[in-house]
């Protein structure tokens, strides 16, 4: 509780927001689910989180800064990293703080109250047509309550106690101010997001847990209702056309924010323009992004252009649970491209970190051009390519050679080898380290496939009748039988299963779960010394892919 009677410095300011993002992150799904205004696209929580995270991360290396310097650097980072409508408005919150703490070595409740006052002014002026019942209302209330709470001896924590109560009240009142919220049966997402951030600042100073206790974070209005936007609302607004969310930075000199805001406002909705003379962050909703972009290029150089189809997002929000997957949004510098077939197997690769999946396998070999197209279109400069099939390996190597990107091919010859390889992937390591680790992990995996013989034949000394199950170990026929269990066991017998081995059975699309469970039981019975895992691969043609490692 060292903060209680002391004045706070730059590091404290940043650390307060670092705590706020811990709390905010847990609330992202809920805030996303509340998102109906201005467009019901379910990304407010994600946008606010990514914006504040950018602010904290980019100021994490600054040490011993004065409060003013830190606030200034955080405001700059917010301007650069602001995502979405709510993120841009939030960047004005940071700008307000930087104005309130300008040239201050440290700060107490008085300076913070002043900062909230500036934040309010900055936010309202950034928006072409301010709307109450949103994050703005929270900024308004906290500025007012801060000003009226100042008494001699008040600490920052005392002030934040009052601010958080006011913020929650403001959130509660949003449905009364903005009818679209009432219709949808929710409170405003951006307002709730800011309220959570403020609560995070307060808990940091109070030394309280940053655990997501919904009881405190959620207003009474919300507790009594479901968090989900009403289906009536979604179907009623189904015909609305929202157009494209268009966001970019303009770099230039002597930029006139007010005139940019005005001219953008004529062409678009939800216009938010913030920044300074050298850099401006523009966020608009428009049916014609081209028009907005060319207006931008008349003014300066455009950067970080993001255009999203909101009608599509809205449809997604209405049909899915409306929650953007955060893991996919994390910034990455290294991409993994895996060749795979089957819904289960594809899902495994994605979950383990693959950024792209190219459809392909034994019965479907992608061409060099297919592979190259994906490599070139990927948004990563460094790529690891997992062919996961012996017959695709050479095409993969050719594609990697022809690519303009830094591509390394991990010579995985089967799906189980690919899984073993991607399991050792660590996003924090660079491409070379990951490549070596993946190669190392591939060697210890033996794998085979079970399928049905299409004709009677004698191969590799094994008699096969048409319609029998056959087992192929690294493409060599080792077993044929009318019993699928016998084939799986025959395959595994040749795989050097020993104490502590891991056997994986990837069930194909053509085999029922019940049949697969029977096979699994037989495998467990025979190889008691190994761990056995049955998973759904969903691959066509192969009833099982089998591996031992």
């Amino acid at each position: 509780m060292r903060h209680i009677n002391t004045r706070l410095r730059g590091d404290d300011l940043r650390d307060m927001f670092a705590s706020a993002i811990v709390l905010l992150k847990q609330q992202v799904p809920m805030i996303n689910a509340l998102n109906v205004f201005p467009v019901p696209d379910g990304d407010t929580g994600t946008n606010m989180y990514l914006t504040v995270r950018e602010v904290v991360e980019s100021s994490s290396s600054i040490e011993d800064a004065s409060a003013g310097e830190m606030a200034n650097s955080m405001a700059r980072a917010a301007l650069m990293g602001a995502r979405g409508n709510s993120g841009v408005i939030l960047s004005q919150f940071f700008k307000g703080i930087s104005l309130g703490l300008e040239s201050k070595v440290d700060f107490g409740a008085y300076e913070l109250a002043d900062a909230f006052k500036h934040a309010r002014v900055q936010a309202y002026t950034a928006i072409d047509r301010p709307v109450e019942g949103t994050i703005l209302t929270v900024m308004d209330r906290i500025a007012k309550v801060s000003a009226s709470s100042l008494v001699p001896g008040i600490t920052v924590l005392d002030l934040l106690d009052k601010v958080c109560v006011a913020a929650r009240d403001a959130v509660e009142s949003t449905p009364n101010m903005l009818s679209v919220l009432k219709d949808a049966g929710v409170v405003d997402a951006g307002a709730q997001g800011l309220s959570v951030i403020l609560e995070g600042l307060r808990r940091h100073l109070g030394g309280e847990s940053l655990e997501d206790d919904v009881e405190v974070l959620v207003s009474d209005a919300l507790k009594t209702k479901s968090y989900v936007v009403s289906q009536d609302f979604l179907s009623e607004t189904k015909e609305n056309v929202y157009g494209y969310c268009t966001q970019f930075l303009i770099n230039g000199t002597g930029l006139d924010i007010t005139s940019i805001r005005k001219s953008m406002g004529v062409l678009a909705n939800s216009t938010v323009v913030v920044g300074d003379e050298a850099m401006v962050n523009v966020h608009v909703h428009t049916e014609d992004p081209g028009q907005i972009l060319s207006l931008g290029t008349d003014i300066g150089t455009l950067n970080n252009i993001k255009i999203a189809n909101m009608d599509e997002q809205r449809d997604h929000f209405a049909t899915e649970d409306g929650v953007e997957v955060l893991d996919k949004m994390e910034s990455e510098t290294l991409g993994i491209i895996a060749v795979a077939l089957g819904e289960g197997i594809t899902a495994m690769f994605v979950e383990l970190g693959a950024s792209h999946i190219i459809k392909g396998g034994n019965t479907m070999n992608p061409s060099v051009k297919d592979l190259l197209d994906v490599l070139e279109a990927a948004s990563f400069d460094n790529l690891l390519l997992l062919p996961n099939n012996k017959n695709i390996l050479s095409a993969a190597i050719q594609a990697a050679d022809s690519s303009t990107k830094n591509v390394k091919v991990v010579s995985t010859k089967s799906i189980p080898q690919g899984i073993a390889a991607i399991l050792s992937f660590k996003p924090e390591d660079d491409i070379d380290v990951n490549f070596e680790k993946m190669l190392d992990s591939v060697d210890s995996v033996r794998s085979g496939e079970v399928t049905i013989a299409v004709r009677s034949i004698n191969v590799d000394g094994v008699d096969v009748e048409q319609g029998q199950f056959i087992g192929l170990l690294e493409n060599e026929l080792v077993k044929a039988s009318d019993s699928i269990s016998a084939v799986v066991l025959g395959l595994l017998d040749k795989c050097d299963v020993f104490e502590g081995s891991l056997i994986t059975l990837y069930r194909g699309a053509d085999l029922s779960e019940e049949e697969a469970l029977n096979v699994e039981q037989e495998v467990v019975g025979r190889f008691a010394m190994a761990e056995v895992e049955l998973v759904y691969g969903g691959q066509p043609n192969y009833h099982f892919i089998v591996s031992a490692e």
Binding site: M1, E208, E211, L352, L423, L502, T504, Y536
Partner: protein, 280 residues
């Protein structure tokens, strides 16, 4: 009179050892919905892990109140030269803050030092034990603090978890760091770095996980002391304990412990962990 050593129940020091070494353990709280239990007092590990798996609500944890610490400090102060309180990483729990607050509130004149271990479970437990041994041998408060501060940076904890789900539910690990699928049964290996939880590896079988833990332990050789602890896997803990002793000849026999409820909420069942104090 001597210096008294205080810690919280997230240290997971076995009760017998704590009482033998005169360590006062302040219980953290575990909440299942509206029910509150004191770790190791109202709720014991066996019962807890059953409840953890069966309960429809995910439990949460909270720090001991400053009042609980004030009571402990005041009752120890009468026959103590000083009190050293060592607590779970302030980045994972408010316990340290609670204790710091209490040290200011306590009316006693006895000096109280509160140390943030930046560690959890036996990672701090081993250091607390070393502090208590020094205290029993009559070390002064300054000497004990020097020992504690030199040992804490040498403490390491590694855990093989059955699932990351519990850490995720409790918000103790970021989604970016926690890359584990639901399609395959994948077991993460985590550590505590700079006071926070970090995933360092992931494996698909228990045997591979155990071997990885041993490999990691070996890389820290020579070791001063070690501990093997678990949530619900006594056999695996036996196995690892034995092997750890074999590969780390300079270490004392590993201290066996159970993950108590405070940490168990976040590790879940099936967790197998090692703590090490490195020689250098």
């Amino acid at each position: 009179m001597a210096v008294k050593i205080v810690t919280d129940s997230a240290s997971d020091i076995p009760v017998e050892i704590a009482s033998e070494l005169g360590i006062t353990v302040v219980p953290c709280n575990v909440h299942f919905g509206t029910e509150t239990y004191r770790d190791g007092v109202d709720l014991m590990v066996d019962e807890f892990y059953e409840k953890l798996v069966e309960s429809p609500v995910h439990p949460t944890t909270s720090q001991p109140s400053p009042g609980a610490f004030v009571d402990v400090f005041d009752s120890l102060a009468d026959d103590a030269d000083g009190i050293v309180a060592i607590h779970i990483s302030s980045k994972l729990s408010g316990t340290y803050n609670s204790a710091v607050q209490a040290s200011g509130l306590s009316s006693t004149k006895c000096p109280i030092e509160v140390v943030d271990s930046y560690q959890v479970s036996m990672g701090m437990g081993l250091v607390v034990m070393a502090a208590a041994e020094a205290a029993q041998q009559g070390a002064t408060m300054d000497e004990i603090l020097t020992t504690v501060k030199s040992l804490l940076p040498k403490a390491e904890v590694f855990c093989l978890l059955n699932t990351l789900e519990y850490l995720r539910k409790g918000g103790r690990i970021g989604a970016a760091k926690a890359m584990v699928g639901t399609m395959l049964n994948i077991k993460p290996i985590i550590t505590i770095r700079d006071g926070v939880v970090e995933q360092i590896d992931k494996v698909r079988s228990t045997v591979k996980g155990e071997n990885k833990l041993l490999e990691i332990a070996k890389s820290f050789d020579p070791i001063e002391s070690a501990s093997v602890f678990h949530s619900t896997s006594p056999e695996a803990a036996d196995r690892i304990s034995q092997k750890l002793f074999e590969i780390l000849p300079e270490s004392k026999s590993p201290v066996r412990a159970n993950l108590g409820t405070a940490i168990g909420v976040h590790s879940g069942p099936g967790a197998l962990c090692i703590a090490l104090i490195c020689k250098s």
